[in-house]
């Protein structure tokens, strides 16, 4: 029995992209409106699907659909969602219309408040059709239950992002785009070897994920295949020391593309670790836990310290994300229910918080034409609304209690602290060290806020106009989500928790939460 939900969800943006691409020249306004409409339809479908999720049929993967694609290779068009995939698809579907609105004028040629042109006019319909293609691929990559299909989306989604950075980005765009593509492609190709190796060694003539769980028993083989997958995901996430492409790509990409890059595309890396590295190769994952947690802690601290030193707003935000991804990876590999649920929640919350921060910074940059923090000052007096949104997004970035990131960061840290998965107290130490980043986060965020918003108003800043309606519509939902999930994360956690429990069962970790539930019945 196949559900049509996910195939439709994939088809709608693809069809939308084709329509937008085929529009006649000069129909820029129509292109934007069609894109917005399509992305809103996708959002609506996703939300309906999300509300039906708890009651939907299927043990682990709901809304499952499996069709043969390439029988010779054992490849299926297999899609389905568990709680983890669902929240990430919702994240993507929420962010895309927001990004469409935020990028409304990005390809028209952006002028600063004093009228200088910072990016020239470029093809509008290409930009928006790329955006829709990217949306389809983002949904596909999280929904794929066939590992080959996952790989196809994983690699193919690089291409639209590559063109969005390369054709629509800042001054260094072509360097940043190539660096982004080559890093990701290299990791992806290593993963391809591991994907083929998994197929060959498992000898099941299928790429369907559920059938491959537990198929590889030999520990040495597990380690090699794990490494192939993990390197690809570590580059994508990105983890120190393979993170250097992210600040370049995020700083050069237009703000909207940067939101999707950091908010969604990078989550594919951490999602992949949780779904594939852990469940397919549980023994290897346990064997490599400590080295990976060490890398994660380095990322947390390193990203935070380097962020403090940045003079470019977008690079600063990118480095804070590297720090946050460190938390997510640490949570994933802490192998406890709380930490992994926290990490999954973090993926979603980070998408909203960083998205809001990138967009608010993008609005500032569009007014001034410079990403350098030193070029601002005193914006609060001129543009109080923009400053307010910027401040809230920033505070979410430093995980202030009451805002959504706090819940997830707290869960990751306590989960890691209490995790007995690795026997010794090593994870406890990691949690304690990573807590330092909370202080560092206050430094990088508040110092940026202080330099940009407070102090004497810089001369060019005086010409700024406050947010217009479109920009408010962009930022308001994100801030609402940040605050809402800060106080009431339960709806998300209710969806995430069962999926994480299932993961832990497949990883064969003694799960206190499941034991408790069992005892209660």
């Amino acid at each position: 029995m196949s559900s049509l939900w996910l195939p439709i969800l994939l088809a709608v943006p693809v069809l939308g992209a084709v329509v937008v691409a085929l529009l006649p020249k000069g129909a820029d306004q129509v292109a934007k409106q069609v894109t917005l409409a399509v992305s809103l339809v996708v959002l609506a479908l996703t939300l309906v699907m999300a509300f039906q999720f708890p009651s939907a049929k299927g043990d682990r993967f709901k809304f499952a659909a499996v069709y043969d694609w390439i029988p010779s290779f054992g490849v299926h068009f297999g899609v389905g969602v568990d709680g983890i995939a669902l929240v990430l698809i919702v994240l993507s579907a929420v962010l895309v219309p927001i990004v469409v609105l935020a990028s409304w004028h990005d390809a028209d040629g952006v002028r600063t408040a004093d009228g200088t042109l910072i990016t020239p006019k470029r093809s509008v319909k290409t930009y928006f059709s790329l955006l829709l293609v990217l949306e389809a691929m983002m949904i596909g990559v999280f929904a794929a239950t066939d590992i080959f299909l996952f790989y196809v989306f994983f690699e193919a989604m690089l291409i639209p992002m590559y063109f969005m950075i390369g054709s629509y980005g800042g001054a260094q765009r072509s360097y940043a785009a190539v660096k982004f593509l080559l890093y990701s492609l290299f990791g992806g190709l290593l993963m391809l070897v591991a994907v083929i190796g998994l197929y060959v060694v498992a000898g099941k003539s299928t790429f369907m994920f559920p059938e491959l769980v537990g198929a590889i028993q030999d520990p040495a083989t597990q380690k090699w295949l794990f490494a192939g997958f993990f390197i690809a995901f570590a580059i994508k996430a990105p983890l120190w020391p393979v993170h250097t492409w992210l600040p370049d790509a995020a700083a050069q990409a237009p703000a909207g593309a940067a939101v999707l890059l950091v908010g969604v595309l990078d989550k594919v890396g951490t999602f992949g670790m949780l779904r594939f590295c852990l469940e397919l190769f549980p023994d290897a994952a346990k064997a490599f836990t400590m080295p990976i947690v060490v890398l994660a802690v380095i990322s947390i601290i390193y990203g935070a310290i380097v962020a403090i030193g940045q003079s470019d707003m977008k690079r600063l935000i990118a480095y804070t994300s590297i720090s946050h991804f460190g938390f997510i990876v640490m949570g994933v590999f802490a192998m406890s229910q709380v930490a992994q649920s926290g990490a999954t929640l973090y993926m979603v919350n980070h998408g909203f918080a960083t998205g809001a921060l990138f967009l608010a910074a993008g609005f500032l940059i569009a007014r001034r034409g410079s990403p350098h923090i030193a070029d601002y000052g005193g914006a609060q007096k001129v543009t109080p609304l923009l400053a307010g949104f910027f401040l809230i997004a920033g505070l979410a970035g430093l995980s202030l209690p009451g805002l959504s990131s706090f819940v997830s960061e707290f869960m990751v840290m306590t989960g890691t602290y209490a995790s007995k998965a690795h026997g010794s107290g090593a994870l406890t130490v990691a949690a304690v060290v990573s807590a330092l980043a909370v202080i560092l986060a206050a430094v990088y965020i508040l110092w940026m806020v202080q330099r940009v918003l407070n102090g004497p108003t810089a001369e060019p800043v005086k010409a700024f106009k406050d947010l217009n309606v479109r920009e408010i519509v962009v930022l308001a939902p994100l801030v609402a989500l940040i605050i809402g999930f800060g106080f009431f994360p339960k709806p998300l956690l209710d969806v995430i928790n069962p999926a994480v429990s299932q993961t832990l069962v497949n990883v064969k970790v003694d799960n206190p939460a499941i034991a408790e539930k069992g005892a209660g019945q």
Partner: protein, 528 residues
């Protein structure tokens, strides 16, 4: 003594596609000899197209009506088996497509005998003369390409090799623009090609000395019982290998490729990059799998090194190229390396071997179509002095003509093996076959195959860099003020690009039908 010469039995029906092509080539020569100049082109083009199309139809008829023969024909000289028929089909379609490119005035010299830059040349150009000999020459080359991979003994193979190569040497020197470069390419190709032919022939002689026969299964039979360290065998095998590897442009015998690809008229380059590669890979497979099948523990390590070197040389040297055709030449070298990985993916069981074979056939198909499409686009980007070869001239092409640049970018992504293009599945199929072969218990190379595949993906990543560099140039750079013009394409060129793009997209999205065809072609392996 009553020695009666027995007339050889020739299965005309089975050989019909090849005979049709050769017959049309001979007719073409007669047309050149007797038809008046103004009629020649009018007669040659339909003759060529009809014969290639007809030959393709004959291949189809044969496959559908009778299936592939299981015995070698023409007294054991030619093996028209499944893989050979598949390769014939591919070569015929490719050459048909290349003829559509040839049928485009601007590419060929008006009078090859006139000294470049001389008054004679100007006169010939003014008179509008041309060389319609191109068409019969091309048909002979195609006939050779068909014989080469279908030959069942080494001498027939040699004949096929020469019939294929000699017209190509000549055609390489017939470019209309930059004639000295073209003539230099022709000369180089001829000299090096003659060398490699000599190696091939010498190797054949040595193997005859070892096995007492030149028939491929005969040699294999001799290997099954004979000494495997006989110097005659080893020298013969090495020499034969040199001759064959030269033709596919594997390192360290790749030096001719960039020069020849650059100098030759682009339609001929397209034919060489697709048809010749396909034919030569077929011959490599037949020699190593059929003729030297029992020696595989001996040649596979050598092939390992050659494949590794070929991928590295192709991928790394391509980065430094500044000419689009040279870059595509190095890319073709790298792809030859990927194909050699497939050649090494041999198993003990024939069923699995069929899997590897179908992977290689599939790869050949998808790669050659994309290649022809890419070269067709190269013919369209023109400077006043001919094609705009230098990469810097391609800057900003995406702004001038977004569709053309978009299609070219798509072909490049297919070369790089990005998913949802045909190139990805080709690469996937070959890598999967190699990994499966290495994981077979008792495989002599074992983990080395995995190493080679890892090397292959690293080479792919390096190769991706230079493909992407062209995309960067086309889309992310500002166009030069005096940029190249885009030639108004002929119907033929449009058709070529359309077919190539269609195959690249179609197979990229739904590879299964093509895989089925390749699988059926490979199911019974080669005739032994």
């Amino acid at each position: 003594m009553n020695d009666i010469m027995q007339a050889p039995t020739i299965e005309y029906g089975t050989l019909a596609p090849m005979l049709l092509v050769f017959g049309a080539a001979v007719l073409g020569v007669l047309v050149e000899a007797f038809a008046p100049r103004y009629l020649r082109k009018v007669m040659q083009v339909p003759l060529t197209l009809v014969s290639l199309g007809g030959a393709f139809a004959l291949v189809l008829v044969q496959v559908i009506m009778r299936g592939a023969p299981t015995e070698a024909v023409a007294m054991g000289a030619v093996a028209v088996d499944g893989p050979a028929l598949f390769i014939w089909g591919v070569i015929l379609v490719l050459s048909f497509v290349c003829v559509l490119l040839v049928n485009d005035e601007g590419h060929f010299v008006a009078s090859a005998a006139a000294v470049p830059g001389s008054a004679d040349e100007e006169e010939a150009e003014a008179a509008g003369s041309g060389h319609t000999e191109i068409y019969p020459l091309l048909l002979f080359a195609v006939g050779g390409m068909m014989l080469f991979p279908a030959a069942h003994d080494l001498l027939t193979m040699f004949v096929g090799l020469e019939v294929m190569s000699l017209p190509l040497y000549l055609m390489c020197g017939l470019a209309r623009r930059r004639r000295l470069l073209s003539q230099e390419a022709s000369m180089k190709y001829f000299l090096l090609g003659a060398f490699s032919s000599a190696f091939f022939l010498y190797g054949t002689a040595m193997l005859y000395g070892y096995a007492g026969t030149v028939s491929l299964p005969g040699i294999n039979k001799a290997l099954a019982g004979g000494a495997l360290l006989d110097p005659l065998l080893l020298i013969g095998f090495a020499m034969l290998g040199v001759g064959l590897l030269f033709k596919i442009g594997a390192a360290p015998f790749q030096a001719w490729k960039p020069d020849v690809y650059q100098g030759a008229p682009t339609p001929i380059t397209a034919l060489m990059a697709s048809g010749t590669l396909v034919a030569a890979m077929g011959a490599v497979l037949r020699v190593f799998w059929v003729g030297l099948g029992n020696l595989d523990w001996n040649w596979r390590p050598v092939m390992w090194a050659v494949a590794a070197l070929t991928m590295i040389v192709g991928a790394v040297l391509a980065i430094t190229q500044t000419d689009i055709k040279r870059m595509l030449a190095y890319s073709s070298i790298a792809h030859a390396g990927f194909l050699l990985i497939g050649v090494m993916a041999t198993f003990d069981k024939s069923q699995q071997n069929a899997g590897s074979l179908s992977a290689i056939l599939f790869y050949l198909l998808v790669y050659s179509f994309t290649t022809v499409g890419a070269f067709a686009i190269v013919t369209m980007v023109r400077d006043p002095g001919g094609e705009a070869g230098h990469l810097s001239r391609w800057a900003g092409l995406g702004k001038r003509s977004p569709v053309l640049a978009g299609v070219f970018a798509f072909f490049l992504l297919a070369f790089a093996g990005i998913p949802l293009t045909s190139g990805f599945f080709g690469k996937y199929a070959v890598f999967a076959a190699a990994l499966a072969s290495g994981s077979e218990s008792g495989d002599s190379l074992g983990g080395w195959m995995t190493g080679l595949v890892v090397l292959g993906v690293v080479a792919s990543a390096v190769a991706a860099f230079f493909y992407v560099r062209v995309i960067v140039l086309m889309f992310f750079s500002e166009p030069a003020a005096d940029g190249p013009s885009i030639a108004e394409p002929s119907m033929g060129t449009v058709a070529v690009i359309a077919v190539a793009a269609l195959v690249t997209v179609g197979v990229g999205l739904f590879p299964q039908p093509m895989l089925d065809v390749a699988h059926q072609a490979a199911a019974n392996l080669f005739i032994r």
